[in-house]
């Protein structure tokens, strides 16, 4: 083939330059803050909050407005905390609860995912159980504890039943809204490329619904955790072992306020810890690859 004439080459070079210039002008710029600044920015404010809370607590205690058995000093709670750390019971207590929550949550994911898909994709299922699923989400799962105790006795089944009823609706609803929020144009992209239903679901629909699904999972975890605590506080028995809820109940039974507060602090630490270590990084990654959250 003959080389293109000089004019064609010049025109093409000009076009290439114009395109390159436009690209340089239009490309969104991202400024990244260094890691240590990000870490500092993320940790300093909550640590400050914690310090303020403890100082206020200490001041309130020192004012002696409340009797000791209602409001212990921060130091007393720390001592109680130290005790269970030293005798090692903190690990078994925490693990009993976390293990249950994790198993319950995973089972909930396994149930809620196909359920959510059905509700999102089958019109009849949506009208039939969609409202029920939303309603269940606003029903506090504590309400199920007495019934579950009557049905299953003081067994693990009771606890898992309550956990599942707490978290399945959140996860399923998250998936449904994730699917509902997929821009219809993405489905059309698959259609014009001749994608079948299965390929379209796997390559387009499900990845597109991931942010909503993940938000549902995060909420589902929180609901699993709080349902578990409710169940453990109400349904206590020797064969159930001592989880965080039972530990809290024990403290309350013997009027040990420091024990009760230690338990609450532990419940909080686990809840926040899982959120920070598992869900936040996952969600951040998913949103960032989609350009949905500003890289901080």
């Amino acid at each position: 083939m003959a080389a293109p004439p000089e004019t064609v080459r010049v025109v093409d070079r000009d076009a290439a330059a114009a395109v390159a210039g436009l690209d340089a002008l239009d490309t969104p710029t991202v400024t990244r803050t260094p890691l240590w600044r990000r870490a500092l920015g993320a940790t300093v404010p909550p640590v400050l909050t914690l310090v303020v809370v403890i100082v206020a607590w200490q001041a309130l205690w020192a004012s002696a407005l409340f009797p000791e058995f209602k409001l212990p000093a921060p130091g007393t709670v720390a001592e109680q905390f130290g005790e269970i750390v030293v005798d090692g019971s903190i690990w078994s207590i925490t693990w009993t609860s976390v293990g249950r929550a994790v198993v319950g949550f995973l089972v909930a994911v396994a149930i809620a995912t196909p359920l959510g898909l059905l509700v999102a994709k089958v019109a009849f299922v949506r009208t039939a159980i969609g409202p029920l699923l939303s309603g269940m989400q606003s029903l506090p799962s504590v309400a199920w504890v007495p019934a579950a105790v009557l049905w299953f006795g003081l067994t693990d089944a009771t606890i898992y039943f309550v956990v599942l009823l707490g978290s399945v609706p959140s996860i399923a609803n998250g998936l449904v809204s994730g699917i509902d929020q997929v821009p219809p144009i993405l489905g059309r992209v698959g259609d014009v490329m001749g994608a079948g239903r299965l390929a379209s679901a796997r390559l387009i629909l499900l990845p597109a619904a991931l942010p909503g699904y993940l938000a549902g999972c995060k909420q589902g975890w929180a609901f699993a955790w709080r349902s578990l605590m409710a169940a453990e506080i109400i349904a206590t028995s020797p064969q159930l072992g001592v989880g965080l809820g039972a530990y809290l109940k024990q403290g309350s039974d013997v009027n040990n306020i420091a024990g009760v507060i230690s338990a609450i602090v532990l419940i909080l630490i686990v809840g926040v810890g899982i959120e920070l270590l598992v869900f936040k990084p996952l969600e951040r990654r998913v949103l960032q690859t989609r350009g949905l959250a500003a890289p901080v």
Binding site: D12, I185, R290, G291
Partner: protein, 267 residues
Amino acid sequence: MTATLDRTQVAPTRPAAQLTGVAKVFGTGAGAVTALTGVDLRVEPGEFVCLLGASGCGKTTLLNLLAGLDRPTRGTVDVATDRPAVMFQEPALLPWLTAVRNVELPLRLAGVGRSNRRGTANELLELVRLDGQARKRPHELSGGMRQRVALARALAATTVDTTSGDAEKGGRLMLMDEPFAALDAITRDVLQGELERVWRATGTAVVFVTHDVREAVRLGQRVVLLSSRPGTVVREWDLTGTADRRALTGEITDHLREVISTHGRAA
């Protein structure tokens, strides 16, 4: 001898797409909307045809028929390739995939192997001058760059055809539904030039829908003017060998005005 002659004469005349007496009615009874009626249109292999018309005249409906997404109420639609590529007004890229993986998508859906599709996708990105941006995600690209990724993806789609395969380039067809309408004027101007270059390089037949007369006249070898409600072909202009495109722009604009004004009088 005659057989050989027949083949050389018949084979190239199979159009890339042909509509004959096509009508499209949405709904039935009193609420029925006639979007298209009596549309005849023939697109030769490698030809660049611009469909021009006011909004609501059935341009998108016509493209959907060509794309096989919808069936005509009357008439026949004949498209040489079984998989024409479609480009929309929005880039419609998958936001979680990098540019190169977006371009690979049609190949992936067609079952092309990993290394083959990566090779094709990289070539096409180079063709649209985005070879340096292959690993960026859509949100890291400008609007014009995204639309070029979409162009590369559409081109990738034209390379997969289960019936005729790669050999028969003549069947390739790209359907574009106002692809530059959402871009700013400068970017649009540059991309029009880029599309022209890519079209010449690939030899794909293009049906390009627009409501912008200047865009139609700049890009098209043929401009087809559609009327509105119901949409039908009012007039065609063959632009090959037209020296004075500016004068023609004026002429077509006048016709378009006339078509639009009839609706004001009817109402």
